[in-house]
């Protein structure tokens, strides 16, 4: 026994999981909002991706101690988040609902947050946070006069005024113009690179793609996929898909398509054209123009049958 004790280093490197969600479900009466989700978040930026109504806000609110899990547990910095105000010393949250007291100036608002966090130097902390979100210039205006994007940035400043180890943001890019969006993305990146745990939710794939390496995909209350963004992106491109194709010679095109490995079936209908079931979205869209060119067929129309984000998510659920 002693040999084992000696072989382990004196100071064991703590594998830091800032946020730990274990077998968490949340239901309201008969409605299941979140169904048995397990995830752990470490340093860096993570995107919480999913269609509207998938349960992203419910998950974030449980992490923020704003909701009690019906089953399972949520730990932030090793402590339970629910009924435990102490977690807020190391946690910042920006909720989706953008309610602020409009009579407060941006400065008042962030300073009040610093004071309520009981920081030793609230004025310096507020100044630093406001500079981080690039809002020093309009800080003395009442928040009721701010645009949606400005208000959003001030709320981010208030959430990170105490330099929290964990920052949760619910749809932070809503209402921001491209420049503000870029700035916010840089800010989140910088925080993640500095070793903080940043989790933001979004229903827009491109947003997540641009800033986070890791993704947690939630569909209909369940964790559909999680991990490296590129892996998930690949899953999304290499998924079976249905296209309708119209050309000047549908029959010949059908013959040529059937020879392709990426094509699972072709349905020929003189009225609507071809319905092609591709086994691989990426390869098929790549191969079709080449075939058309080689066979000298003019493709008049190519329509992906079901391109909604929901169907992409639904596929991910099935792929798990």
């Amino acid at each position: 026994m002693t040999t084992i004790a000696e072989s382990t280093p004196a100071v064991a490197p703590v594998t830091a999981t800032a946020v730990e969600v274990r077998d968490v479900s949340k239901w309201y009466g008969n409605v299941v909002a979140v169904n048995n989700i397990t995830m752990s978040l470490g340093a860096g930026v993570t995107g919480l991706l999913g269609p509207n109504g998938a349960g992203k806000t419910t998950v974030l609110h449980m992490m923020a101690g704003f909701l009690a899990p019906s089953r399972g547990e949520v730990l932030v910095g090793g402590q339970p988040a629910w009924r435990n105000p102490n977690v807020y010393s190391g946690l910042g949250i920006v909720v989706e609902r953008e309610a602020v007291h409009g009579f407060l100036t941006g400065w008042d608002f962030v300073l009040a947050s610093a004071k309520l966090q009981r920081l030793p130097d609230p004025v310096a902390a507020a100044r630093r946070a406001i500079e981080l979100v690039d809002m020093a210039e309009p800080q003395n205006r009442r928040m009721s006069t701010y645009s949606k994007g400005m208000r959003q940035r001030m709320r981010v400043a208030a959430a990170l005024v105490h330099d929290p180890a964990v920052l949760l943001l619910d749809e932070p890019f809503n209402g921001m113009d491209p420049r503000q969006r870029m700035h916010m993305m840089e800010l989140l990146h910088a925080m993640g690179d500095a070793g903080r745990t940043v989790l933001f939710s979004s229903h827009i794939l491109e947003e997540v793609e641009q800033i986070s390496g890791t993704v947690q995909v939630i569909v209909a209350g369940r964790l559909a996929a999680s991990g490296d963004f590129r892996t998930i992106r690949r899953l999304m491109t290499h998924r079976p898909h249905v296209f309708t194709v119209r050309s000047n010679d549908d029959r010949r095109l059908a013959v040529a398509l059937m020879a392709q490995e990426s094509v699972a079936s072709v349905d020929l209908d003189p009225k609507t054209g071809l319905t092609v079931k591709a086994s691989d979205y990426g390869t098929f869209t790549h191969v079709l123009p080449k075939i058309a060119l080689a066979e000298k067929i003019r493709v008049q129309r190519l329509v992906p049958a079901d391109e909604s984000l929901e169907s992409v998510f639904a596929y991910l659920v099935g792929a798990q």
Partner: protein, 238 residues
């Protein structure tokens, strides 16, 4: 226990709310009525009960306490700004007690001063003193009740109004047994005992009134603190 930052923001929000500003002149109406009846030569023994008791103590005091008590916490629940305060490492006790101090203070001043003035108009400094103390006792009990309702239910104003109008006014007049559970009766008793005047009379004993007022205040304050500890913040869609 008391947080000056929360107190400042709460007070500013309260005085910026239309609902509150519209009701603020209500106590002055009682003063106006008192002045008018006194000026027209009506004897105080004839107008003290209908003006001070029936309007001042049973309507103006509880209604103002309702608007203020729900205004300090319920409004922040409604508009979602409560999330900012909840996401801070503050004991929930501190949040509720601070808001309660603001509510009780504002209610006691806005009702106590005008009511005391009507006592002076009636020519009785003792009645004035009784009304001032009664307003403080009432503010404590009512504000605790209505502040707690703000986190107990999504419809605090409606339920508070039902308590005032149905329980206290209607039931209190028809079923005398409910008087022991009516804050307005405790206030009336306190006013009566201090005023020591034939102008006013009460139905409940002082011991019962004071202990019940204390039970209301402490009970609902503790309940409010406990409910805020387990308060669920709703998202935009749910």
């Amino acid at each position: 226990m008391f947080n000056p930052t929360i107190a400042r923001i709460t007070t500013r929000a309260l005085f910026g709310r239309l609902r509150f500003l519209l009701l603020l002149p209500l106590p002055l109406l009682v003063v106006g009525l008192a002045l008018l009846t006194q000026a027209t030569g009506v004897d105080p023994s004839d107008w003290v009960t209908p003006v001070i008791v029936a309007i001042g103590l049973t309507v103006v005091l509880p209604v103002l306490a309702l608007i203020i008590g729900t205004g300090v916490l319920g409004s922040e629940v409604d508009d979602g700004t409560l999330a900012h305060i909840l996401a801070k490492p503050l004991p929930r006790r501190e949040i509720v007690l601070t808001k309660l101090v603001v509510a009780v203070g504002v209610t006691a001043v806005t009702t106590g001063l005008p009511l005391a003035l009507t006592g002076l108009i009636a020519g009785s400094p003792a009645l004035a003193g009784g009304l001032a103390v009664g307003a403080v006792v009432g503010s404590l009990a009512y504000c605790s009740l209505f502040t707690a309702l703000s986190v107990l239910t999504r419809l605090p104003v409606l339920i508070g109004l039902a308590y005032i109008l149905i329980w206290e006014t209607l039931a209190g007049n028809l079923l005398t047994g409910t008087r022991v559970l009516s804050i307005d009766q405790y206030v009336l008793t306190v006013v009566d005992r201090i005023a020591h005047s034939t102008l006013i009379s009460s139905n409940v004993s002082l011991a019962v009134s004071l202990s019940m007022a204390f039970v209301f205040t402490a009970g609902f304050t503790l309940l409010g603190i406990d409910r805020l500890r387990s308060f669920s913040v709703k998202g935009e869609t749910s």
